[in-house]
Amino acid sequence: MPPTADILEKARWGLDDYNDKSRLYRLKSSTRGDISAKIFQERDIPIQVAIGNYDIGICGSDWVAEYTVKYPSCNLVTVRDMGFGEGAVYAAAMPRVMENDEITTRNPAVRIAGEYPNLAHSLALKMRLRRFSIYPLWGSADAYPPENADIVLLSRKNEAEITSLGFVSLGKIVGFRACLIVNRDSLRHKDMSDVLASIDAIIPKVFPHESAGFGQFVNIGATRQCMQPRCELDADTVRLALPDGHQQSHVRKIMDAAGIQIDDYPSAYGNRRPKISLDGFFIKVIRPQDMPMQVAGGDYDLAITGRDWLIDHLHQFPGSPLMQMLDLKYGWVRIVAVVTNETPVSTTAELQQMYSAQGKSCRIAAEYVNIADHYARTNHFDSYRVVPTWGATEAFLPEDADVLIENTETGSTLVKNNLKIIDTLFESTACIIGCTHPDQSPIKAQRMAHFVQLLRGALEAS
């Protein structure tokens, strides 16, 4: 944010509230009547500009590449390299040499994880992988190899940062810097010359630019050679995923109460493999949003996540073997449908009737895309679009969405943003999720049950 704010200040856009401390999403210009702005999560920006909700956007060109590699004919034009925020998306793997071409012939699928699923898909096609699975992640991608992914896409400043994590860089997929993007139709038909000139005047003109297209830097031969046989743990070992982020202190408290020791969790050094005092357990720290698919796919046996993410997963995959094994009773939130105070409805039924009568398509923004889709389907919206978001969802109403599916604890953030709840879909707390399989090792099953029992006992005692 600071370099962008600096450039906009020099360009005299007058967006005085655009700074690190501001909690506003909407910005008004104090100097120009032709500018208003909104703050989004970076990866939402190319989408919002491409669909025409905004004329101009500033974001990392990695997110532009992630969008345009899937939608090459979208209405998005990159008009200026802004010259800061340099880095690259690298393909990386754990070092270990395989027989040449083994990767293209082996079974099962090559697993590619990362926050850039479209780039990952294109990489797999370019590598002519015979069979592959893409794991789209919310974050913590570096935690996955070698146990839970064969290739991982990492965004870093340089290759040295990749190797410092213990990875082999398989090559740069795309280099990126902050860039100025515009909607193609706006560029063709709308006079934005003053605004564009104000930016252009203060950006240095010449940057060493990487002109090569997607994947030109990836050494496919080296990638193939670095792939390794699937890293399997002992069949009796329980693979447990613990959450990163703000949930860590809660999990730590419950573990302490249950008499389970975990070293270096939460970790000040970003340790993703803390040690646990229970025998036969292997722990990794990953994003709670990514856990359901990982457990269902058999990469973990147990995970501590939110019930909201479990339900989102089950709406996408109704036949998933995943189940809630214990309600941990902290992190209570409600998952709600939200509209602006100006929307003349107070229930979902009224909202559905309103859009049906108007013959309009309803735009539903949510981080929980599958819950949002399920909400629209079960409430029989005639026509609707789910707008996936990666945070700051409140900012979408009313200009960029009509309804939000959002979680809330007290509702105060919603009130501050002039929003009202029209439906409560369900309540969510943290929980242990897991899968049981008929062919699971009895020792592992016993260990899993014991772990759940220890936490249940701690909860009951408190």
Binding site: A109, R131, G298, K360, D382
Partner: protein, 412 residues
């Protein structure tokens, strides 16, 4: 709210379906006469069926409809099938490989590929055939002959065949010193229509690059053209001799069939599995089908090595070219039957007799008359129970029985 058809997808009207069924019937009759058994593969397949090296080009793979299925929590995707040959080869490997060679299979099916323009079809129907387990010039000639006969049976006589040979292109690429992956990449780009791919090969050897440029930029219309090329390049470039000789034999067979043809090395866009001859059929300027030899596909997909070749005919394009006037049922064979509810039993008997006699009967309640009918038949409880009108002349006949009514229509 206006409910719209999905972009790039087409409704087939009653007239469109007449055309569709006519093309389908002509193809199926031809297939039976060539000994090809009909099969059908599912619309949904696993993506990995198509991502194996040597199947579809990267350009095609970027345009497939792929998604996570309802049980796709492993992250593995399924697709709406973008191609028909690959699923048919899978079916062969799964069910027929043990039954011996060759297998002659035909199908009428749809496939799905994303197109940017809403005016281009994203769902395409084609009738096709695969000859698995037979190789050589005679097998190639059988398929070209089959494809041409099917199109002629549809009433389209002027057909031109355009031929290419991927095996020859591969040999030339190999002689440029490209490894297998690089060959796949360049061939994929050439087959996707990107001829500038050649110019990016700075380290390429002069003679082979010259030969490739000549092949891709020149079109011939005789075996002599290929013989000339052989005399220019075959002695310098190892491997080219065999491929050119094989191609010349096939061309001579096409000549002996009396087919008009052109040699065009750039045809074959989008498909990487071809290994030998490729052909496309043109009716005027319209490309109505094409196919080729894919001797390595079955093995690549995990089956036992087997030579194979096949073709597909594009139903939508052929439908637009055929004459269907003869398929409309004439008014004189259409009867509007109105029945008094109390005489329904007799009415049904009359309708049954007329239909068995080959007439079209449009039944309705008493007093209604269907359009476009040459006859109006009234069935009542009271005498005269059956009355027949000739709509063209206005003549009225009171009939004593259903058989008499049918006899009057003149078709019994």
């Amino acid at each position: 709210m206006q409910i719209e058809r999905c972009k790039g997808c087409t409704d087939l009207s009653a007239q469109d379906m007449l055309r569709f069924r006519s093309v389908e019937a002509a193809f199926q009759e031809t297939a039976r006469s060539y000994g090809y058994d009909e099969v059908r593969t599912p619309t949904l397949e696993y993506l990995y069926l198509f991502t194996s090296a040597g199947t579809l080009t990267t350009g095609m793979l970027r345009r497939v409809y792929s998604f996570l299925d309802w049980d796709g929590w492993s992250g593995e995707r399924v697709v709406l099938k973008p191609d028909t040959t690959i699923p048919t080869a899978r079916l062969f490997i799964e069910q027929m490989q043990q039954q011996g060679y060759p297998a002659r299979l035909s199908y009428v099916t749809n496939s799905f590929v994303f197109e940017e323009s809403a005016t281009k079809a994203r769902e395409r129907w084609q009738c096709g055939a695969e000859l698995i387990g037979a190789g050589g010039d005679i097998a190639d000639a059988e398929l070209i002959s089959f494809a041409c006969d099917a199109v002629k049976r549809m009433g389209i006589d002027k057909i031109e065949v355009r031929l290419s040979h991927v095996g020859l292109l591969r040999e030339l690429l190999a002689s440029l010193g490209l490894n297998h992956t690089e060959q796949d990449d360049v061939l994929s780009r050439i087959l996707d229509g990107e001829l500038s791919a050649l110019e990016s090969m700075h380290a390429a050897k002069g003679q082979s690059l010259e030969a490739l440029r000549l092949l891709l930029n020149t079109k011939g219309d005789s075996a002599a053209f290929l013989k000339n090329l052989r005399s220019l390049f075959a002695s310098d470039i190892a491997g080219v001799q065999d491929e050119l000789s094989s191609f010349i034999k096939t061309i001579e067979m096409v000549e002996s069939m009396g087919l008009a043809y052109q040699i065009d090395f750039t045809c074959g866009k989008g498909f990487e599995y071809y290994t030998g001859i490729i052909f496309r059929l043109f009716a005027g300027a319209v490309n109505v089908g094409g196919g080729g030899r894919y001797d390595r596909l079955v093995e690549t997909m995990g089956g036992t090595s087997a030579p194979a070749a096949g073709f597909g005919l594009y139903i939508d394009r052929l439908s637009a070219l055929i004459n269907i006037d003869h398929l409309y049922i004439p008014v004189s064979q259409r009867v509007s039957l109105s029945v008094d509810p109390s005489a329904m039993k007799v009415g049904c008997e009359v309708a049954d007799l007329l239909r068995r006699a080959g007439l079209v009967v449009l039944m309705g309640p008493n007093g209604t008359v269907a359009h476009d009918c040459g006859w109006e038949l009234q069935v009542k409880q009271d005498e005269p129970q059956i009355v027949l009108f000739n709509c063209a002349t206005g003549e009225r006949n009171n009939c004593s029985s259903a058989i008499e009514a049918v006899a009057l229509v003149g078709l019994v």
